[in-house]
């Protein structure tokens, strides 16, 4: 399993943070445009899902898969959205990525952004320590290393 990239959006659709690790293809758009497109897709997808759902939902969207990647989605109660793209080869031992996103929120975002006085919550995150902690965390994951060369 490989991790391609991570987007963090706030409730208004601003992209607070973007980082890529093993991404092999760019979308051909300016980064700003790509964030808008991604947020727009998630927004419509959420409305699509609530309407299609046969029963009432709690968490709503969990993930989405194509033949090349899998998009994992986690939304906090405050509307903060964590989106991570991974490849689709899921080993049985791989942890649930949604739980992993929750972990990033809980032990990295809350600790180093929310508790950091210098970070404005509605502005893109520029904190060096957040950046470093997140990078270490992602690179330290067992699933990060197992790159399937295809």
């Amino acid at each position: 399993m490989t991790i391609f990239n991570l987007y963090i959006f706030d409730r208004n659709g601003t992209c607070l943070y973007y980082r890529e690790w093993n991404r092999t293809r760019q979308s051909g758009l300016a980064k700003e445009e790509e964030f808008k497109l991604m947020y727009g897709m998630l927004f419509s997808l959420k409305s699509f899902i609530t309407r299609m759902s046969p029963t009432d939902q709690k968490e709503g969207l969990l993930n989405l898969r194509t033949n090349q990647y899998k998009l994992h989605f986690y939304e906090t109660a405050t509307g903060l959205k964590f989106v991570m793209n991974t490849d689709i080869n899921e080993a049985a031992s791989a942890p649930n990525v949604t739980a992993l996103l929750h972990e990033i929120y809980q032990s990295i975002y809350v600790e180093f952004v929310v508790k950091n006085r210098l970070c404005a919550l509605d502005k893109p995150i520029e904190s060096e320590i957040f950046h470093r902690k997140l990078d270490d965390y992602i690179r330290g994951l067992p699933m990060f290393a197992t790159k399937t060369s295809s």
């Binding site: 092999t24 897709m41 299609m52 029963t55 009432d56 709690k58 968490e59 993930n63 898969r65």
Partner: protein, 229 residues
């Protein structure tokens, strides 16, 4: 399984079949004044605030005192909001539930899926990505397959929330059977719609043989997946 949508290459919905749609409905008798806050949304009366007793925000008024609602009015022509605001009408029995999709909404959702499909492949971090194949949510799972000629087939199925982890493990063989089901549906389409001389391509499918064999195929697939787990 909940249903099947067939979308043509232009994003138009050409066939839709509902199967086992379970309905969420709550009926409750209220006294004046009503604790719930209702609003008009999309020509329907929707709960805006005051979630209680299984009535959730977003549920619509389905019936009042046993008379079904049609849009903002009851079947007998009375306006729902006026009825609820008048004290003489109380106690009042209101039935709430998840709004049922109208045909227009289904057509709109099909078009929406078509564009989401395209955006998902554009945003791919890896080269040569297809569009959406599976969408997983906490209440259902949607499988989609695109045929060589650009048509879409969507099946959406139920996920049991309580054993979702278990489901994920067993899901692989089961997922295989979903692909097989989609393929089988395409065969039915080719056999009973395309080979029908009265069927014109890209138009909604109205063909009895197609309906019956599709239904049969769905029921058979369901029996098989229940047997398998």
């Amino acid at each position: 399984m909940y249903g099947i949508y067939i979308i043509n290459r232009a994003g138009g919905l050409i066939y839709q079949y509902d199967h086992n749609m379970s309905r969420v409905e709550v009926e409750k008798t209220f006294s004046y004044p009503l604790e719930l806050v209702l609003k008009i949304f999309d020509e329907k009366v929707v709960v805006d605030f005051g979630q209680r007793d299984g009535i959730k925000v977003g549920h619509t008024v389905l019936a009042i005192n046993g008379i079904a609602a049609v849009g903002r009015q009851l079947e007998d022509g009375r306006d729902i909001q006026e009825l609820i605001e008048t004290e003489e009408n109380y106690p009042i029995a209101i039935k709430f539930g998840r709004p049922k999709l109208t045909t227009n909404e289904k057509i709109m959702l099909a078009g929406m899926f078509h564009s989401l499909f395209a955006i998902a492949s554009q945003l791919s971090p890896e080269a040569k990505s297809s569009g959406i194949q599976v969408i997983e949510t906490d209440t259902f799972k949607l499988h989609c397959s695109q045929t060589l000629t650009g048509w879409f087939l969507c099946v959406y199925t139920f996920v049991n929330i309580n054993n979702s982890i278990k489901f994920m493990v067993i899901a692989d063989p089961k997922h295989g059977s979903q692909d097989a089901l989609l393929k089988r549906l395409y065969e039915i389409y080719a056999d009973y719609a395309l080979k029908n001389p009265f069927y014109s391509i890209d138009m909604p499918i109205r063909c009895e043989l197609f309906d019956t064999s599709l239904q049969e195929c769905v029921e058979q697939a369901e029996r098989m997946s229940y047997g398998g787990v």
